[in-house]
Subunit: 227 residues, 2 copies
DNA sequence: GTCTATAATTTGATAGAC
DNA sequence: GTCTATCAAATTATAGAC
């Protein structure tokens, strides 16, 4: 049974995206991200999102036609955040593949921690569950999101390939190498708790630890290391 | 009716755990793992599990009193599989921390790929969603599962600490170091598709790639490497 | 733009036949 | 041990008032 819960404010810790405008639609979106993060897509009732907003369903259905549309928008926003911030680093000139990979992973980690609700909701919903959308418009939007995700992975595959070509990285199939790289960082979505340990300094430390880890994961072992 | 205590091995394609016996309860459990994996906990209807079994609800409710109990058992089984297989490696004598960490991660990866339904269902349900179990018996079972998970992480923290003590690994807080290690491997639950790429050789290759990656992630960079 | 009220559907769980 | 039938609750989405 669903307990009566007091209404909370939107844009609580973890739910707010910095720079998110305060128009109605964005407020609804942020609240949805928060609740999807906490309960997952299927377990979230539209009424839960309304409660989070301190309003009723009417407000949500004014901006979104369905729960699936709402979720798709959260997911799209999450992917766009990644592409917007990591894309420029991937394209920046004057960096070695080492510096580039490290900077990309570090920024990725930072985005997860600072827009946690969106990222975590998106990762949870990455699933086949939504592939069964019969609605054409929704299905197109989902294809677009999957494309964004593939584009994002391409950024990593490219820097890996570059690093291998320059003899800096271990020789792995670039597409395969992106799996542990993204896995090590994306696992933040499972263990990170924005409530505690969310001072800027702690976020920075975690981002550095993770990005250094994945960089070392791509570096050949030093000759002086014993086995 | 109360629940039986013992559980045995299920035996389906994606949910296959090797060494299968075929009692009714285990069949139900394996089918549940399969469906939970595909749709997630909340989106799974008991009728879906019944369909997977080619039967009706009655069969499921004969063995389990609720959907939550069914899920808890899938989760417990997944954790037990990890502890049973990786625990002995963590305790084996005559291995350096390097060899030990690599063997542990490799076995972990292998278990994910060979008991995929159980592992993936468990990772998806790691969530806060189940923490709101009011039922006392279920709540106790959940505490037990969380304890298993903590115990499992301890295995990695211990070998990391050991390796740091011997000057083999980079100096990181052991608990923090386990995050990217487990993340790189557990990310398999997101991208691996047991349908394709599931020949024993491919499973082996992936396990080696991932375990080598996490090992390198813990090794200090060689002195001859340019930055 | 947001609310109340409600229709339509799904679903967890139980009872009792066989 | 499994099935059929059914209920009670929850939930998505809509209609129309304000």
């Amino acid at each position: 049974m669903k307990e009566a819960q007091e209404r909370r404010r939107p844009q609580e810790s973890g739910g707010a995206r910095p720079g998110a405008a305060a128009d109605g639609r964005a407020e609804v979106l942020a609240a949805a991200a928060q609740v999807f993060m906490e309960r997952g897509y299927a377990a979230t009732a539209i009424d839960d999102v309304a409660d989070m907003l301190g309003s009723t369903k009417g407000r949500i259905y004014h901006y979104y036609r369905s729960k699936a549309d709402l979720f798709l928008d959260v997911h799209a926003q999450a992917m766009q955040d990644l592409l917007e911030h990591v894309g420029p680093i991937a394209a920046r000139s004057g960096l070695t593949p080492l510096e580039r990979l490290r900077a990309m992973a570090k920024e990725h980690a930072r985005i997860i921690m600072t827009t946690f609700a969106f990222q975590k909701a998106a990762v949870q919903g990455l699933e086949r569950r939504l592939l069964s959308l019969s609605n054409t418009r929704q299905h197109r939007e989902m294809r677009r999101i999957i494309e964004m995700r593939d584009t994002y992975e391409d950024l990593y595959a490219a820097v890996v390939e570059d690093g291998i070509g320059q003899g800096l990285f271990v020789r792995l199939p670039p597409r395969m190498a992106t799996k542990p790289i993204l896995g090590a960082v994306n696992w933040l979505n499972v263990w990170f708790e924005p409530g505690r340990a969310a001072t800027p300094q702690q976020v920075e430390d975690i981002a550095v630890l993770l990005s250094d880890f994945v960089l070392r994961g791509m570096l050949p072992e030093g000759p002086a290391r014993r086995r």
